[in-house]
Structure formats: structure tokens, C-alpha cells
Symmetry: C2
Subunit: 212 residues, 2 copies
DNA sequence: TACGGAACTAAGCGCTCGCTCAGCTCTAGG
DNA sequence: CCTAGAGCTGAGCGAGCGCTTAGTTCCGTA
């Protein structure tokens, strides 16, 4: 079966990846919200739907979360922090700029594919967040941007890369990786690992890395 | 002013690009719907909002469109047809595969940037379409995919390109172009022409085109 | 001038939404 | 055994939703 082959059935692994969310009922609600938001979008999802996916009554949601938007905010914050951590870990490794960029793209894309439900909410439901919470999330995105841009700048300085427009190329690389969350399908032909490898190669070509 | 510099203020040019929609009131409603859907998303947009943007009462909408979803369907169909036409025009030109791919990406991206409100609805609100209308739109997307894949295959056969994974690279190229609609901002630093030129260069690198 | 029909509006119907609240249940501490 | 409090539910409120309907306005034609 496909999910087994991928080893990435999101519903199964979510229990582990949202371990920081307690108590148990709050975590179940949050996981239910991720699935519902990813499938239907934030505005099309009802609190009744989220609660029933978690096996609870509609009122139970409000014991653990102040509002429906509060749920989205927590998902978005945790997700962005995870995505940023992945990029920073890759950037902090030892090795050439090519190696670090390749590893950053590979792991970033792998996350967007394996956890595409979460990533879809994180990357595409940002606008559903109210004005008062958006700046916090936008700041995390800028950090992600800076992390990738720094690696590319390193590569240019070291003579490894040929990049006429560093900010533009950084934007394109991140855009390419993020959009994986939109089209990736667990039932499809590619595993998250395969997509990660393909994209790492494509990005190295985009920055004109010397063939190794 | 930015919109003037870009020469691409969407609200202004929409009157011309939706010329095929008649009568005038129907076109005004459709343009209002594009703006509202792009800003807030389909589900978060109310029919009252659309009607008031068009300077009409809520009931007037139902004289020209059967339902709110009917509006989305018409926007989506016209938009996808336009996007496909752009790709096919570039693919049908004379020239090398590099030239045709470059022109396809340049014009496709330029459209997604200049008309990013429309493109955002077309590319990201597909899931809001009911099950009965989606297949028609998905067929148009497959045609777009095939058009780009054919150009890349031509380049590989001619020895112009070095592409280990043609379907995967095709997917990545289209994904990269489409995501322009998500991040492009009229107030930003780049014009649609500039983004088109940048992306055409990046895509030629992705397919390993020989430097010309 | 009179009239048929298309375009449009004011009012509002039935429904579902996010969210609330009074009260029930279950468990830990004494 | 009793009790306090956290977790949860059933019922439902006020609001706003998509959409409808009865009736008005306006214009082309004769």
C-alpha cells in the first residue's frame, strides 16, 4: 500500500510530531483541525467538523482553544518553527555551500511532502490569520528567507555558484519548495525522499553549482 | 506610482481582459468576484460583498449567475483557457526548444504576475469547485502540463537539454511558475516583465540548456 | 402615448455558523 | 464515603449566510 511504502502516512505520524501539544484532548483537536483545514480550507471548515473528527462535542473545542482562529494560529506557529528549524539545521552543517543548499532543499521539501497536510495549512492559510497575529508569522518566514539567502551568498562568494539575482533566486527556490505542499499526494508515484532528491538537484542547477 | 510603472494595475486592465463577458453588469460582477475571491478566498467571500463591489444589490447577482459557485466556475474556466493559450502559443512558435521553453515560461509567468488576482483564484481556488465541475478544469491543467512536457522532451531529443526526470521537472517548472500568483505583489520591487525574464533564465538552468 | 420585458431592488426565508452556558460525570485527596 | 474541580455535553442564542420573491424602474418599439 502506498502509505506504507512512503512510510509517511500523515495521520499516523501526527501523533508523534505534535507531541509538544498537551493535554491529549487538545492534541487530538489540533490534529483534527489540521486535516480539516488542509482538506477544505480554514473558512470552509466548521468547528463542529473539527470536534466530531476528534470524537468530541462542539463545545469541547472551547475548553482547550479560545477561538477557531486560535487553533489556526497554534498550527501555523508550530509549523513555521519546525520548517525554520529544518532550514537552519541544514545551513549550520559543515560543508560547502553546495552541500548545505542541497541538504536544506532536500529536507525542507521532504517535510513539505511527508507532512503536506500540515504544510498546506501553514503555507497557504496565512491570510486567514487576523491582522494582529500575522506579523509574528511573517517574521518567521523572513527568517527562512534569510537562511536560504545566506547559503546562496556564501556559494557566490566562494565561487561555487553563478547567481545574477540572489534575492530573486532565493525567492524562487523557496517558492518552488513550498508549492510541493499544494500538489503532493500520498497516493502519487513519488515518495517524499524522491521529491527531495529531485528538487535538490534542480535547485543546484538553478544556482549554477559546479557539477560535482 | 507603482501600478503605473508596472503598467499592470489589474483592476484597470480587467475591463479589457474580460471583454468576452457580457452584458456589462455581468462583467462588473465577475471582476468584483475575482478581487474578492483573491483577497479573502472563495468561502470567506459573501455574495453581498461581491454585489456591493459591483455597485449592485445582493439579488442582482442571481440575474446573471445561477449561484456563487457558478461565478467561480466561469472565472476558473476563462482563466485556465487563457493560461493554456499562452503556453500553446509559445510552444507553437518556430525556434529551438530552448527558445520555445524560455518564451513559454516568460509569458506564462508574466501573466501570473500581471494578473495575479485572477491567477490566484484560478490556481488556488480549484478545490472550492464542486465535484461535478472539477474534471473539466483538471483536463485543462493536464493539457498545460502536456504542452510544457512536450517542449522539454523536444529539447532532450535534440540534445539541447539534460533532464534525468522529464515528468518531475515538468511538474517543478509549472509549480514554480504558478506559485508566482501567490507571492507577487503589485507594490513590490519587480515588474511582471522582470519576473518573467528571471524565471525564464532559472528554468533554462533547470533543464540544463546549453548556454547560448 | 402605451406597453412588454429585461434589469434591478427591498425585504426576508430557512439555515448553519461560531460560540456560550447550565449542568452532568468522573476522579483524586482526605 | 464525601466533596471539589476539571473535562465534557446538550441545548440553543444571535448573527450572517446563500438565495428567493414580489414588486418597481426603465427602455425599445409601434
Amino acid at each position: 500500500m502506498s502509505a506504507e511504502r512512503h512510510g509517511q502516512n500523515e495521520a499516523a505520524t501526527d501523533d508523534m510530531s505534535w507531541a509538544e501539544v498537551t493535554p491529549d484532548a487538545a492534541r487530538r483537536l489540533l490534529i483534527a483541525a489540521v486535516q480539516a483545514f488542509a482538506e477544505r480550507g480554514y473558512h470552509a471548515t466548521t468547528t463542529r467538523d473539527i470536534a466530531s473528527r476528534a470524537g468530541m462535542s462542539p463545545a469541547a473545542l472551547y475548553i482547550h482553544y479560545r477561538t477557531k482562529e486560535d487553533l489556526l494560529l497554534r498550527i501555523s506557529r508550530i509549523g513555521h518553527e519546525k520548517a525554520l528549524e529544518i532550514l537552519k539545521d541544514a545551513a549550520a552543517e559543515e560543508g560547502t555551500a553546495s552541500e548545505r543548499l542541497s541538504e536544506a532543499v532536500r529536507s525542507f521539501v521532504r517535510w513539505h511532502a511527508a507532512r503536506h497536510l500540515t504544510a498546506r495549512v501553514v503555507q497557504y492559510e496565512l491570510d486567514s490569520l487576523g491582522e494582529e497575529h500575522r506579523p509574528e508569522i511573517v517574521a518567521l518566514r523572513r527568517e527562512s528567507d534569510a537562511t536560504v539567502r545566506d547559503i546562496i551568498n556564501d556559494g557566490v562568494k566562494a565561487g561555487e555558484f553563478d547567481v545574477p539575482d540572489v534575492p530573486g533566486t532565493t525567492l524562487a527556490v523557496l517558492s518552488l519548495c513550498i508549492d510541493v505542499a499544494r500538489w503532493f499526494n500520498t497516493e502519487g508515484r513519488r515518495t517524499p525522499d524522491e521529491v527531495g532528491a529531485l528538487y535538490a538537484d534542480l535547485v543546484l542547477r538553478m544556482v549554477g553549482a559546479r557539477v560535482s
